[in-house]
C-alpha cells in the first residue's frame, strides 16, 4: 500500500481492513458498455460543438442587428421604437458560479446555463454543490440561489410594471430582496411545507429536506402560511414550517460559525463558548465531532433557550457569532438585547439611531470570563442590498432610452445629465443611496461625474461593465453612449470589442495603481449617457 493511502489511518486494524479493501476484485464496466458510452459521448460532444457554432452565428446576426440599432440611435428613431418593446417576462441569470442548470420540462431534463440567460414561467433551476446564481426579476427584485438548491417558476408575469411571481422551492437556500410589490402584483414562494408571501422585503428560505422549510426575515414583514396556519414575521425573526403542518412560533434568529467545543450528554452543544440545544428535529448535515468547524443556525426561544435548526460544516474557518433581538436596555458598558446581556466597549461598532426597542443584529465574541462582547450592533434596516451583478456574457433584453430599464414604455424619472435611476432598487434612490467607492474610483479615472457612473450602474450595469465600456470608448474614440447602445441591443461585450477593434487592438485594463493613464480623449471626452439616445 502507498503511504498516501495510509494517511489518516490510526490503528493496525484499520490498516488491515484497508489492505483487504484493496485486494477486492472490484468490478469494472463491461468493455462493450464502455465502448457504447464512448460513442454516445462523442456524439454529445459534437452536438455541443454544433450548438456553440450556432450560437456564434447568432452573434454574427446580432452584429448586423447592432449596426441597425446604432443607426437608429444616431437618427433618433430608437426612442420611438423601444417604447413599444414587449414586456420582459424573464428573470436574468447572473453571477453564475459553478454548475447551474435549468429545466424546460418540469425537471425531466436539465441543461447547463450561462450568465445572461433567462428563466421564464414554467422553468426549473437547480444548482450543484459549491454553485450559485443571482436571479434578477423584471421589477428589480433579486434572488440569490445558494448551492444544491432547486426552484421552479410557477408564474412569472410582468405587465404594466406589476410583477406576479410564484416560485416553488424544493431544496436549498434562497435569499430574496423584493422591491415593493405593486397593487395587483404578487410575490409568493412556496415550499413543500409552507408558503411565504411578501410585499417588499428581504428574507431567506432554507429547505434542508422535504419535511422542513425555514423562513428568516432581514427587513420588512413576511407572511408565512402552512395548512391554514399563518404567522407574520418581522425583521430578525424566523419560523419553521414542518411537514406535519406545524408552524412554530416566531422566534429570533441566531447563527454561529465556530469550533465545536463540546457535545454534552444532554444534547447541549457548545460552539465558540456559546451553548445551544440539539433536538431530534435539528437537521444535521454531517457527522460532527468535537474540533470540527461548523455553522449552526437556530432560534432563540421565548425562554431564552437557543435551539439549533440546522448544523452543517462551515465553508470558512473564521469565527462569526450573531444573534438578533430587540434592544431592551442601553448603558455605557452593557446592553440587554432580548434578555441577553452584551458588553460594549470603544471598539464596538454601533449603527446609527439605535435605541431601546430597535430590532438589531449583534455580532459578538465570547470573552474568557464567559461574557459576550459585542463587536457590532446594527439595525436590520442597515442591511446591505443584493449582490452586485457581474458583467453578463449573453445578450440581454433591450432597455429603453432615458433610463427606462424595464421596457415599459414609461421612462423613469431622469436626473440631470444621467439616465433615470431604478428607484425601487434602494441603492439607486437619491434619497437613500450610499456612496459607492467603486463609482468614485471610476469617475476619477475617466474624468466624469460620480452621477454619470451611477447612472449606468442604476441601469443594471456592473462596475466592471462600466469600466470596460469607458476604456473601450477611450481606446476606440467611440462615444460611450454608442457602446452601451450596442450592449442594449443584445450584443455581447466580446463582440462589441471585436466590432470596435477589428484589427484586434488590445483593450488594456487600466492599472488601478497607475495614475498616469493615457486618457487621450476620443470624439466625446466627457460622454453623457443620454447623448445620442434621442
Amino acid at each position: 500500500m502507498t503511504k498516501d493511502i495510509l494517511s489518516g489511518i490510526e490503528t493496525e486494524a484499520d490498516a488491515e481492513l484497508v489492505s483487504r479493501l484493496q485486494q477486492v476484485d472490484h468490478p469494472a464496466l463491461a468493455a462493450d458498455k464502455a465502448s457504447a458510452q464512448v460513442t454516445q459521448l462523442k456524439v454529445a460532444a459534437r452536438a455541443q460543438r454544433t450548438a456553440s457554432a450556432q450560437k456564434s452565428w447568432k452573434w454574427i446576426l446580432a452584429v448586423t442587428g447592432t449596426v441597425v440599432m446604432v443607426t437608429l440611435v444616431v437618427t433618433g428613431f430608437m426612442a420611438g421604437l423601444l417604447r413599444n418593446v414587449q414586456q420582459v417576462q424573464a428573470a436574468s441569470l447572473d453571477n453564475i458560479n459553478g454548475i447551474v442548470e435549468i429545466s424546460k420540462d418540469a425537471g425531466q431534463t436539465w441543461i447547463v446555463v450561462e450568465d445572461g440567460e433567462g428563466l421564464t414561467s414554467g422553468d426549473g433551476l437547480r444548482t450543484y454543490t459549491d454553485s450559485g446564481v443571482i436571479l434578477t426579476f423584471p421589477d428589480g427584485s433579486v434572488v440569490a440561489v445558494g448551492e444544491e438548491a432547486e426552484i421552479f417558476v410557477s408564474t412569472l408575469e410582468y405587465q404594466k410594471r406589476v410583477l406576479t411571481l410564484e416560485l416553488l422551492q424544493t431544496a436549498g437556500e434562497t435569499t430574496h430582496w423584493v422591491v415593493p410589490v405593486r397593487e395587483g402584483g404578487k410575490y409568493l414562494v412556496n415550499t413543500v411545507t409552507g408558503t411565504a408571501q411578501v410585499h417588499g422585503t428581504v428574507f431567506n428560505i432554507n429547505v434542508p429536506d422535504a419535511g422542513l422549510a425555514r423562513f428568516a426575515v432581514t427587513d420588512g414583514l413576511v407572511e408565512v402560511s402552512n395548512d391554514g396556519n399563518e404567522i407574520l414575521l418581522a425583521a430578525g425573526q424566523v419560523t419553521l414550517a414542518e411537514g406535519d403542518g406545524t408552524l412554530v412560533p416566531a422566534a429570533y434568529d441566531f447563527s454561529l460559525k465556530g469550533e465545536l467545543e463540546a457535545i454534552g450528554a444532554d444534547d447541549t452543544w457548545t460552539v465558540s463558548g456559546v451553548t445551544f440545544k440539539v433536538t431530534e428535529d435539528t437537521r444535521l448535515k454531517g457527522e460532527f465531532v468535537v474540533g470540527d468547524f461548523i455553522h449552526v443556525i437556530g432560534r432563540v426561544l421565548e425562554s431564552g433557550e437557543r435551539v439549533a435548526d440546522m448544523i452543517m460544516y462551515s465553508q470558512v474557518d473564521k469565527e462569526i457569532l450573531c444573534f438578533s433581538g430587540t434592544v431592551e436596555s442601553i448603558s455605557e458598558t452593557e446592553w440587554v438585547i432580548s434578555g441577553q446581556s452584551v458588553v460594549v466597549n470603544s471598539d464596538t461598532i454601533l449603527g446609527e439611531g439605535l435605541e431601546v426597542g430597535s430590532l438589531v443584529e449583534v455580532r459578538f465574541t465570547v470573552q474568557e470570563d464567559g461574557s459576550w462582547l459585542a463587536l457590532e450592533i446594527s439595525q436590520f434596516s442597515d442591511e446591505q442590498g443584493p449582490p452586485e451583478k457581474k458583467p453578463t456574457k449573453q445578450p440581454r433584453e433591450p432597455k429603453g432610452p432615458k433610463g427606462e430599464v424595464n421596457g415599459t414604455g414609461e421612462p423613469e424619472q431622469e436626473m440631470e445629465g444621467i439616465p433615470g435611476p431604478v428607484k425601487e432598487q434602494g441603492i439607486c434612490d437619491p434619497e437613500t443611496e450610499q456612496i459607492q467607492p467603486e463609482a468614485v474610483r471610476l469617475a476619477e479615472r475617466y474624468s466624469v461625474t460620480y452621477k454619470e457612473i451611477m447612472g449606468w450602474f442604476c441601469l443594471n450595469y456592473g462596475f466592471g461593465e462600466i469600466d470596460l465600456a469607458y476604456r473601450m470608448s477611450l481606446d476606440s474614440g467611440t462615444p460611450v453612449t454608442e457602446i452601451f447602445a450596442m450592449r442594449e441591443s443584445g450584443t455581447g461585450w466580446g463582440l462589441i470589442k471585436q466590432t470596435l477593434f477589428p484589427k484586434e487592438k488590445p483593450v488594456n485594463k487600466p492599472d488601478p495603481n497607475n495614475n498616469n493613464l493615457d486618457l487621450t480623449p476620443g470624439p466625446d471626452p466627457n460622454p453623457n449617457p443620454n447623448k445620442g439616445k434621442n
Partner: protein, 185 residues
C-alpha cells in the same frame, strides 16, 4: 499537435470543453472505471452504476464550459457531478428501494470450514457499504477503492481534510463491525 496519449489532462479538459470528441473520449478513458466503481458501491447495482456512469459523463460534456480549473481539480469536479447524479437517482428511486443485491447475492455468511481470511467479494462489500452513512461511504470508496488522496477526497465532498479523516476513521470502524457481524472478517 498532441496525440491523445500525449495529451495532458489539462489539455484534454480544454479541448473537451470546446467539443472535441476525442478529448472527451480521453477523459472518459481516464476516469470511467473510478466513476463506475464509485457508483456501484453507492448503489449496490451493476446495472444502475452502468446507467449512472453514462449520465455522469454526459453531464460532464454539458458542463465542461463551467469548469474552472483554478477552483479545483478536474477529478474532484467530476466526482461532484457523480454525487449529484446519485442524489437525483436516490430521489427518483426513493419509492423503489433496491433489491438487486439481496436477490442476486444471497447472504454470504461463511460455512464453518471457511477461514476468516477468505477473499472479500465485491458484492459482499457493496452490501456492507450500503449500511454506512452516505458520507462515510463516499470517503471509503474514494480513498480506498479509487485511491484518491485525503486532499482530493476533501475537495470532492466539500469537507476539510480533518473532517475526511474523521469520516474515514468512523467509516472503517463501522465497516469492520458490519463485516464482522456478517462473518466476513
Amino acid at each position: 499537435m498532441h496525440t491523445m496519449n500525449e495529451m495532458t489532462e489539462t489539455q484534454a479538459v480544454r479541448a473537451a470543453s470546446r467539443g472535441d470528441p476525442e478529448a472527451v473520449a480521453h477523459l472518459y478513458e481516464l476516469y470511467h472505471t473510478g466513476i463506475f466503481r464509485f457508483l456501484y458501491y453507492r448503489t449496490g447495482s451493476i446495472q444502475s452504476a452502468e446507467d449512472l456512469t453514462s449520465e455522469v459523463f454526459l453531464r460532464m460534456v454539458r458542463s465542461l464550459s463551467g469548469f474552472q480549473p483554478g477552483r479545483g481539480t478536474f477529478a474532484a469536479w467530476l466526482y461532484q457531478i457523480a454525487r449529484r447524479v446519485l442524489y437525483d437517482w436516490y430521489r427518483s428511486n426513493a419509492a423503489h428501494p433496491l433489491v438487486e443485491l439481496a436477490e442476486t447475492h444471497p447472504d454470504p455468511a461463511p460455512k464453518p470450514d471457511e477461514t476468516a481470511e477468505r477473499r472479500l467479494e465485491h458484492a459482499v462489500l457493496a452490501q456492507a457499504m450500503l449500511s454506512l452513512p452516505a458520507e462515510q461511504q463516499d470517503v471509503l470508496i474514494l480513498r480506498f477503492i479509487n485511491g484518491l488522496s485525503l486532499g482530493m477526497t476533501a475537495e470532492a465532498i466539500h469537507r476539510s481534510i480533518d473532517a475526511v479523516k474523521g469520516l474515514q476513521s468512523r467509516g472503517l470502524q463501522k465497516l469492520r463491525e458490519v463485516l464482522t457481524e456478517r462473518g466476513v472478517l
